[in-house]
Symmetry: D2
Subunit: 292 residues, 4 copies
C-alpha cells in the first residue's frame, strides 16, 4: 500500500513518521521543506508538489492547516486529479462541513474514495500513536484504511457514512472545548469578584467535578496566566467556533452558547490576543469585569 502524506506540520509529521516506522511506503509533501527533510531521514520519499506525492498512491492522507490549505493542495495543485480510481483520500484535518461535502462530491465523480478522519489529541499524543480518530465515510473505504488508523490512534470512532459527519462531530467537540474555556473564564471572574483565589478555585473544580483533561490543562494556564507559547491559538479557536456555527446554521440548529463564545473570541482578537493560547479567552471575561 503506497501512502501519500500531505502536510507535515506539528501534527502531520509525527503521524507520517509513525506510518513509516510501521513499515508503510510513504511519500510526503509539505509546503515548507524542513519537515519533509526530517521525514526523509526515516526512510520516506519526498515529493516536490502535492500531485507528485499523490501520483500512483493507494491512499492519500492530508493533514493541512485549514480549508484554504486543503483546497490549495488537493484541488488547485492537483493531488486529487492524479489519484487513480479506487484510491482513497483520508482527510484528517479539521475542515468545514461545507468543504467536506464539496470534496466528497468531487471524489465521488472521480471514482476515488473519500474519508474524513479528524483527530483528538495534541502533538505528544500524535507522537505516541494514541490519537482518538473520528472517522466517517463509506463502510468499505473505512475498513480499507483502518490498519492505518490502528497505527495512528488508540481508537477509531465511527461518526457516520457521510464524510462531513466526522467534521461536524470534530467541530462540535471543539465548540465544547471553547465552552469549557469560556466557562472557566467567567467562573474565575465571578470568583475573583468575591475575592476568592483564582488558582485555589480552579484547583478545586479541576480536582473534583471537572477532573477532565481539557479543564485541567486550560485551567492550569488560566491559573498561571501563562498564555505563551500557545498550545492552540485563540484565533484558531475562533475559526473552529465559527465553523461549528456555520455547520449548525446549515441544519437550522441555534447555538446560543456558541454565539456568545464567538463574541468573546472576537473581543479577544480586538485586544490583540489572537496569537495567545486558547486559555487567554479568560482575559476578555476579566476585562469586561474591569479586573484586567
Amino acid at each position: 500500500m503506497k501512502i501519500a502524506f500531505l502536510g507535515l506540520g506539528t501534527m502531520g509529521l509525527p503521524m507520517a513518521a509513525n506510518l513509516v516506522n510501521a513499515g508503510y511506503a510513504v511519500r510526503g509533501w509539505n509546503r515548507s521543506p524542513a519537515p519533509a527533510a526530517k521525514l526523509a531521514t526515516l526512510g520516506a520519499q519526498i515529493a516536490a508538489t502535492p500531485d507528485e506525492a499523490a501520483d500512483d498512491a493507494d491512499v492519500l492522507i492530508s493533514m493541512l492547516a485549514d480549508d484554504a490549505a486543503t483546497r490549495a493542495a488537493v484541488l488547485d495543485a492537483g493531488a486529487l486529479a492524479v489519484l487513480k480510481p479506487g484510491a482513497i483520500h483520508v482527510n484528517m484535518a479539521t475542515v468545514s462541513v461545507a468543504l467536506a461535502e464539496e470534496l466528497a462530491a468531487r471524489h465521488r465523480v472521480q471514482g476515488v474514495g473519500y474519508v474524513a478522519a479528524p483527530v483528538l489529541g495534541r502533538v505528544n499524543v500524535a507522537e505516541a500513536g494514541q490519537l482518538n480518530i473520528l472517522a466517517a465515510g463509506e463502510a468499505r473505504a473505512l475498513a480499507a484504511v483502518q490498519p492505518l488508523f490502528d497505527v495512528l490512534g488508540q481508537k477509531t470512532w465511527h461518526m457516520g457514512e457521510r464524510p462531513e459527519q466526522a467534521n461536524a462531530a470534530k467541530l462540535t467537540v471543539n465548540f465544547m472545548i471553547a465552552s469549557a474555556i469560556g466557562t472557566m473564564g467567567e467562573a474565575v471572574a465571578l470568583a475573583q469578584g468575591h475575592g476568592v483565589d483564582k488558582a485555589g478555585f480552579l484547583q478545586l473544580v479541576t480536582s473534583t467535578v471537572f477532573a477532565a483533561p481539557v479543564y485541567k490543562g486550560y485551567g492550569q494556564a488560566i491559573a498561571d496566566e501563562r498564555f505563551e507559547p500557545a498550545g492552540f491559538k485563540l484565533s484558531l479557536g475562533l475559526k473552529d467556533v465559527r465553523l461549528a456555527l456555520e455547520a449548525a446554521e446549515q441544519v437550522h440548529v441555534p447555538l446560543p452558547l456558541a454565539s456568545a463564545l464567538r463574541d468573546t473570541h472576537i473581543e479577544s482578537l480586538a485586544h490583540g490576543e489572537g496569537h495567545l493560547d486558547w486559555a487567554a479567552l479568560s482575559r476578555s471575561s476579566a476585562r469586561r469585569a474591569g479586573q484586567a
Copy 2:
C-alpha cells in the same frame, strides 16, 4: 461538643448520621418528622423546633433547602437567637451570597461564629463521608469545626475569611455544571442535525477530553433521554444560575454564558420541564432546532 443539626433531607440526614456514628452528641430537627425519627434510631436526640435544637449547642449545623427555609429556621424560628456566645453556626446549604452576608452580620452582632460550608457531592457521597467541603469564615471558627468536616468529607477547601466567599464559590461551581449540561445540549443538537448518533457522540467526548464525572453523569442521562427521577431538579438548577448571576452583578461581573443558560432554563420551565432532572435542559436545545 454538642451539635444541633437543622435539616434532615436527602443530604442532611446521612451527614447527621455520620456525625452520630462518629460519636458526637447530635440533636436534630426537621420540618417533617419522618427523617428525624430515622436519626433518632441511631441515638440522636430530636427537637420539635429549630430553637429547641439549637439551645445550648456548641455548633449549629444547618443544611436547609434554600434561602427561605434557612431564614425561616435560623431567624424566624429563633435558632440563632438561642445560640450562646462563642457558639458556631456552620451553614452547609447552597444559599445566596446576599443571605450569607446578612447572616454573617447578624451572627457577629450576637457574638456567634458563622461559617459557610456548602458541599460538592450527591447523596451517596454524603453517605460515604466523602463530600468536598467549600468552607469560608474566620480562621479560628474554621479550625474549631474542622474535626466535623473530617467526618463529613474527604477534603475541605478554604475559600476565604468571609463566609459568603464559600457561597460565591459554590454558586460558581453550579454555574459551571449548568454550562456543561447546556453545552452538551447544544452539542448534541448540532451533532444530531448532521445525523451523528447522539449516544455515540456523547460516549466519545465523555471518554476522552471530557472524561469528568459531571459530563459522564449528565451525558448518560441525555443519551438515554432519562430525566426521571430527577437527581437534581432543573428548577433548582435555574435557582442556582440565578443566584450566581445575582452574586456576579453585585460585584459587577458580566456573565454572558450564564445569562444564556438562564434563558434556556426558563424556556424549559415554560414547557413544563422544571421537575425533570437538570439534564433535561438539553430538550430546549433540541426544541429550538425543531428536533423535539
Copy 3:
C-alpha cells in the same frame, strides 16, 4: 377630592403642581424638604411624614424612586395604614411587578383601591401635563381617578385589571428603550469599525427608518459622546432591565436580548459608568471592539 402626593422629585413635583394648578387640594410630602417648599408656594399643604400626608385623603398618589422608597413610605411609614376604606392609592412610579402584586394584596385587605399608573415622558413632558399614562387596576378605581390622569397626561392607556400589568408594561417599554440604545451602540461600533462616520450614520438612521423620539434623543447623545448630565442614569436602566427580566422569569418568558443587554449594563458599571446617561451604554460596545 383631597389628594395626598408622596414623592416630589424631578417628576413628582411638576405633576403635583399641575394638580394644584387644576384646583385640587393637594397635601404633599417629600423625604427632603426643599421640593415640598416649592409646592407650598403654589398653595399646597405640606406634610412632615407620609402618614400625615395620607391622613383623610381620598386619593393617595405616590411617585417615589424605586421599590425601597415606595415600601418605606407606603408600608413602613404608615401611609397605607391611615388610608380610609374606599380611598384609592395611585402608584405612578416604576416599581417591580412583585411589589405591585404585594401592594395590591395589602390594599385589598384594607379595603383601599390600588391603581398602578407608571408614566412615559421626561420632566418637560410632566410639566406640560402631556405624559402618557399606563394604567391598570379595577375599572371603578380607574374611572374614579381618570380626571386626575386628564390633568397629568395627554392619554391614558389601559393595560388590564390587575395593577401589576401596568408595571409589567412599563418595564417592557424600558427594556425596549434599553434595546434601542444597546442596538445603536453595537451599530455604531460596527460602522466605525469600517470607518463610517458615527454621527453621519446616526443622522441617517434617525432621520429615516428610526425617526422616533427615543432613537433621536439617545442617538444624538451617542453621536456627541455627551453623557453628562444624565437625563436617565445608566444604573437606573440596569435596574429596569433587571426588573423586566424578573417579571419575565415569573411567567416563564425567556428574553435573550434583555439578558445580553443586562450584561452590557453590568460591564458599564464595572467601568465606573453607572452615573452617566443611559446612552453611555454604547461605550461598552466600543470598548469590546477595542475602540475605546
Copy 4:
C-alpha cells in the same frame, strides 16, 4: 449617458423605469424575461445577457438579489469584462462587505469606477423615486452618478470613499431593523405573559417613544399575526444579520445582540418560517415562552 441596468426585480424594475422616464437611455437585463418586457414598453432596450447590456455603457447599475446573483452576472457572465475604461458600475444591491471589497479591487484593475449604493425603502418608495441612498466610492465617481441618484432617491447619504463602507452601513441598518423586530417579539411575549393585550401594547409603544416607520410597520404585522405575503422574507433577514456579523468579525467588533438575533432567526427557520415576513421572528419568542 448610456445606462445598463442588471436586475429588474421588485425593486430594480421601478428604479429602472424611473430612469427611463427621466429621459435616460437604459438597456436592461433580467434573468427571467417578464420584467424586462415591462421595461421595454416604457422605451428601454432589452439585452439577452448581462454583457450585452453592459456593452458600451457609461454607467452600469446592478440591483441583484444577493452575492451569488451579483457574482454570476457581473463576473461570470462578463458584464464587468466588457465595460470600457472610465465607465462606472453602481452596485445598489445589499451585498456582503467581502464581495464589495473584491469587486472594488477588480474594477480598479480594469480602470472602471465602482460605487456601492444600497438603498433604504420598499417597492412603493422606489416607485416614487424617494429612496434613501447610502453611497460610497471615490468622490469623482460619486459626483458623476449623482444625477441618477437624484432621479431614484430623495436623498443621498455619503458613507465614505471605499465602496464597502456603504455596504457595511446598509448591513448595520438591517441589523438594527432585525433588532427592532426581535425586541418587539420579546416585548410582546413578556407583556402577554402578564396578560397584557398584545395589540394594545404595540399601539401604545408605536404611538409614543417608538413612533418610527419600522416599529409601526412590523408592529402592526405582529399585532395582527399577519405574516403572509412577506414584505421581506425572514430568511433574507437572516442573511443580512449573518452578513452584518461577518462584516463585524472582519474588523473585530463583537455584536452580542446581533448574535442572539441570528439564533432567533435560525430557530424560525428550524420551524419552517423562513418564507414568512420578517415580523414572524416574534413567533420564536412566543414559542420559547410556551405561548405558541
